[in-house]
Amino acid sequence: MPKDSSIQSVLIIGSGPIVIGQACEFDYSGTQAARSLREEGIKVILINSNPATIMTDPMMADRVYLLPLTVESLEQILQENQIDAVLPTMGGQTALNLCKEAEDVGLWSQYNVRLIGVDIKAIDKAEDREKFRQWMIEMNIPVATAKTANSFLEGKEFAQEIGFPLVIRPSFTLGGTGGGFVHDKEDLDEALNRGLQASPIHEVLVEKAVLGWKEFELELLRDSADNVCIICTVENFDPMGVHTGDSITVAPAMTLSDTAMQLMRNTAIDMMRNLGNFSGGCNVQFALNPDTEEIIAIEINPRVSRSSALASKATGYPIAKIAAKLAIGYTLDELENQITKTTSAYFEPALDYVIVKVPRWNFDKFKGADDSLGLQMKSVGEVMAIGRSFTEAIQKACQSLENNAVGLGYYGKSLMHAEELLEYIKTPKWDRIFRIKDALMAGISVGSISKATNGIDRWFLYEIQKICNIEKKLAEYDLDTIPAGLLREAKVNGFSDEQISRILQHGNEEDVYNKRKELGITRVYKMVDTCSAEFEAKTPYFYSTFENVPEGAAGANSNESKASDRKKIIVLGSGPNRIGQGIEFDYCCVHGLLAIKESGYEAIMVNCNPETVSTDFDMADKLYFEPVYWEHLWEIIEHEKPEGVIVQLGGQTALKLAEKLHEKGIRIIGTSYDSMDIAEDRGRFSDLLKNLEIPYPDYGTAYDVDEAISVANKVGYPVLVRPSYVLGGQRMRIVINDEEVEKAVVSLLKHIPGNKILIDHFLDRCQEAEIDALFDGENFHVMGVMEHIEPAGIHSGDSNAVLPAFNLTPLIVHTMEEYAEKIARELNIKGLINIQFAIKDGKVFVIEANPRASRTTPFIAKAYQIPYLNVATKIMMGTHTLKDFKFEKKLKGFAIKEPVFSFNKFPGVNKELGPEMKSTGEAIRFIKDLRDPYFRQLYKDRSMYLSK
């Protein structure tokens, strides 16, 4: 069936601010959907309150509404636009819930708007746990024994009937919020209460726990003609009991026989065909009993999801893009495969590689939080790694995590005894995979580990054992004696050069690198092509591996990434999302890529975060889905020989690699390494401020407690104690006496031994403000001045910030701008700079400077409607200067950046705010003037959450 020509304009609902369980994967799907619909000549209107998203960029839709996701906002949009249809399947649970709410009040019918992609009945059937269960029972599909309770008493009765262990699952919540396992009677009351409260309709499912079963997810597409295909089958490394968002997952399924696979496939297809009116992407989860291979259905999500974003990156199949086309009436058989461009979109991708997704957690930010993993998602981001084997992929995933892992292993840190390990791995935690490896190294059997972990499939453990066996062999040699075959085997199985040097206890990363290059052990790049090389594909989406290159004509196929003779620039991404570094840098990278392309260069992206738009296969000219890790980057540089590398757009992750690039003589596009180092190095930066006669809070550095106390007394209490080079104020404390200094320093040194500690005088109760600016070597441009509503002491990422300043005198703003320009000039910035200020008693102090895109750059670009990242990239490259652009700031009134928190995922943690950032996302809100009631309330409450 061709597209439905009665649909001329479509409203897409976004997912709002980033919270745990709903992150930038929905920016990816929303962006794809918008592009896909506009390709068809359809007018796209978009609503999302998240300013850091690409989807809300003017280039993505015909009209963008940065409004709160409420029925009132929808009504405003419907009044101002002729809208034929609404597509609610791209913005996660938030969009579905809002769509349902609007349906309940009759909004859609009032404005004659059709729901496309899915209908309300289908949403209900899938999202309401009881309806889902009844539906499954009607269809003869097995489910876990369960009963729905609408009251505390009911819940208790059912629990008694079903028996322990059991699961409490609240209806209509996100990322498993409020759910949990109950192992015995004592925990029941609390879990039941929490679940009922978390559900917007006060309803929970009390369900028999199928602990120890294996968990699988199928990503499917269905069209209006009832064609269904499975895009990807994902296997969870962690057995049932850990939320899939918190599980390590692997694709394709590694341990499924065809018999079991087809049973799941048939069941999923029956479910989708029976769901009701649905065309688009859908996710179905199953549990499989490893003893009998019977399966039960866990859930169905009639929308694109975090898993479908992962599946898209894992297979190369752009699920959201195709799902949007299906929603407007196309059928799968009439669309083409977006990767090969010659075959059909109706097919099931075949993979000849393995992908491993590992979640990234931020428990360090939530003191007192329960760090065990369960039904409720707790991770804040994820990495994906691609390899030609599971061993290679899992090690690359570890290298991508940015928690200092050099591969799968701790290497000397925090060793446990065998019995301790066996006990430790019984509870799923963020580091369980590392402990499992330690356990195997310690000689504990695969069988014991599988049992202790309640059913991690032995095959995965055998593979990790392979890593251990290689490691043990490596340890028998040093760099001079290591056999070439063994070194090759290690590289084939994903060991990094740094990891090998640590195991050999000989030489460093570079020595191992040089050794293997001498032996001809070098990376080749393979394409992600959806079809296991069966058809020729042209999509430039690559990953690295090591191969035994065949001799003869076939050998030329081994490395599929052919370096072009064009001038190229590499953009470094920001790796996994985490608190303090998230979607905003994806926004920056995407604009960087587009600006590079516009300037006639080849744009090459390097990143490992599957949720991002920057890793969409058609954003860059070439995508390397690789860890943002030196060894991988260096081999890409050797292969591509780029003009230079942009580190300003990928947050601290990218910036960190500047030093090595500088050492190797690789051009850093924009501000030089030395200037960046001055800004990052507290001592050098203070000297610079001193020379420029710019005030800054008195400070000192220390390496131990005694030194720290003496510095603290010299600069005067209260003081801010923190490690150097950190992200989002990690481990930053404000303290008021010697005793507290001691405590802070001891804790800091325990976690980051040998780190230089910075101690600043803290300007108590002062005002905070910041400036984002551009400098091209000659001219200076202030992008925006933001004033924080909360007084100093709360991390800038957690503060409500108002653009432009609302309460600072013109003289103060002028002084800030003057200081900013002086600093930019002195640092010889080329591109972006962000400067944080404190204002006390009319005096302006500079707190810090970041020579890169900041968290607020996308916010300013959105508020003023100026493509600042595009401009910044062109200035970095030197193709343009500020004079080439005209800036017209279109903001009427003020824009407020509001932080959004995910504390509800961590019952019992301290919600107090302080110098360490805790928010996971942000929203933008426009106000006409300062009489706005929302603003006045915010202003009134400004000191509410302040830390002591």
């Binding site: 003609a225 009832d226 295909c229 089958t233 394709p252 399924a253 590694m254 341990t255 499924l256 026989s257 065809d258 018999t259 696979m261 087809q262 496939r265 490893p290 003893d291 009998t292 291979e293 059928t331 058989d333 075959t343 059909s344 109706y346 097919f347 099931e348 075949a350 993979l351 000849d352 590689y353 393995v354 030609r388 084997s389 599971f390 499939d457 032995r458 095959w459 995965f460 055998y462 392979k466 066996n469 393979k526 079809c531 296991s532 090389a533 069966e534 058809f535 020729e536 191969e547 035994n548 290159v549 065949p550 001799e551 003869g552 004509a553 076939a554 050998g555 196929n557 081994s558 599929e560």
Partner: protein, 366 residues
């Protein structure tokens, strides 16, 4: 895990040489190289008689993870001549499995090689076409292996069906059934028979060269023309039998090789494909219903599309959505139809099993 791996070598007809490690049986083997993109069901593939004489690359990254299970086979022995993989796994986790892939290949004397850049080879075959190859874990003397390889006959024009066909007649299903199907066995997969038996048929399987007169003594209500290996063009005996069968006006269903034979019996030539279709993800559109299906495929020969389109007495019922190749035909005015792909699946999606219903309905109506 063996500590020292035994080296093995793979040599292709065009001189390509790839080194890897031995897996399964130690020895030397020859055959035509082909690849399969399926990610599950390796044991079903290895025992599929249509793969007789082939050396198979499994494209997916790991093979062997779930071991082998006695009843997940398509015939009683392994039919492939050799196996090539990136990571062939001897350790498996499946609780209901009976053994490891390594042992299974050893028992069935299948010489295999792993640690190969399979993707580079697949791309090579994709561009250069199917060719013969040799694997050895006995010698790494490439020149000697090349000599041995030169003596291997070309698949084009090779009749292999009679080599894998049953030697004796056998029966399956309920003897009292009112639907009796005669199966002409050129290498039939077990599950094809199962699909018919499950639907209530009583099937009798005949050796490839059984004269029709003998088959007719069974008084079948319908004929099934099976899948099988090799080139259909030299199979005069089968084509002649089928021509006679078509005279009877009884329902006929052909799969894969059977599809090619139905074409040949109707004067439509077949040809050797560049590198064939082998996998579990090929999209096929049913032109009669308008619905599409994901199919299992395994064929190195195809039906000439031009000739089919020109033939007035043949209706095209199914086409491949990737390359528009002919996937299904029907003889106009006769209850005879066939598909190029494998509706019985195993391995692969069950989307197309409706064709067995169609066949049995046709018999019932007849």
């Amino acid at each position: 895990m063996p500590d020292s791996k035994i080296p093995a070598v793979l040599v292709l007809q065009d001189g390509t040489v790839a080194y890897g490690n031995a897996f399964g049986a130690i020895g030397t083997t020859t055959g035509e190289i082909c690849f399969n993109t399926g990610m599950t069901g390796y044991q079903e593939v290895f025992t599929d008689p249509s793969y007789f004489g082939q050396i198979l690359i499994m494209n997916t990254a790991h093979i062997g993870n779930y071991g082998v299970k006695a009843d997940e086979v398509e015939s009683d022995t392994v039919k492939i001549s050799g196996l090539i993989g990136r990571n062939l796994e001897d350790q498996y986790s499946r609780k209901v499995a009976n053994g490891s892939l390594g042992e299974y290949l050893k028992t069935n004397n299948v010489v295999s090689i792993e640690g190969i850049d399979t993707r580079a080879l697949v791309a090579h075959i994709r561009t250069k076409g199917a060719m013969n190859c040799i694997i050895s874990s006995e010698t790494t003397d490439v020149e000697a292996l090349k000599k041995q390889l030169a003596e291997v006959p070309d698949m084009d024009g090779l009749e292999l069906a009679s080599k894998v066909s049953t030697k004796e007649v056998y029966e399956l299903g309920n003897t009292d059934s009112d639907i009796r199907i005669a199966v002409m066995d050129y290498g039939v997969k077990k599950n094809i028979l199962q699909c018919m038996v499950e639907r209530g048929a009583y099937v009798k399987v005949f050796p490839a060269r059984t004269p029709l007169a003998e088959v007719k003594q069974f008084a079948p209500h319908g004929y099934f023309i099976s899948n099988g290996p090799g080139d259909p063009a030299p199979m005069d005996y089968a084509i002649d039998t089928l021509k006679q069968i078509l005279q009877e006006e009884k329902p006929v269903f052909g799969i894969c090789l059977g599809h090619q034979l139905l074409a040949l019996a109707n004067g439509i030539p077949t040809f050797k494909m560049h590198h064939g279709h082998r996998g579990l993800n090929h999209p096929v559109k049913n032109l009669v219903t308008g619905r599409s299906e994901i199919t299992t495929q395994n064929h190195g020969f195809g039906v000439d599309p031009e000739a089919v389109r020109k033939a007035d007495h043949i209706e095209i019922t199914h086409v491949n959505l990737n390359d528009q190749s002919i996937e299904g035909i029907r003889v106009k005015g006769k209850p005879a139809f066939s598909v190029q792909y494998h509706p019985e699946a195993t391995p692969g999606p069950h989307d197309s099993r409706y064709l067995f219903d169609q066949f049995l309905d046709l018999i019932r109506k007849n």
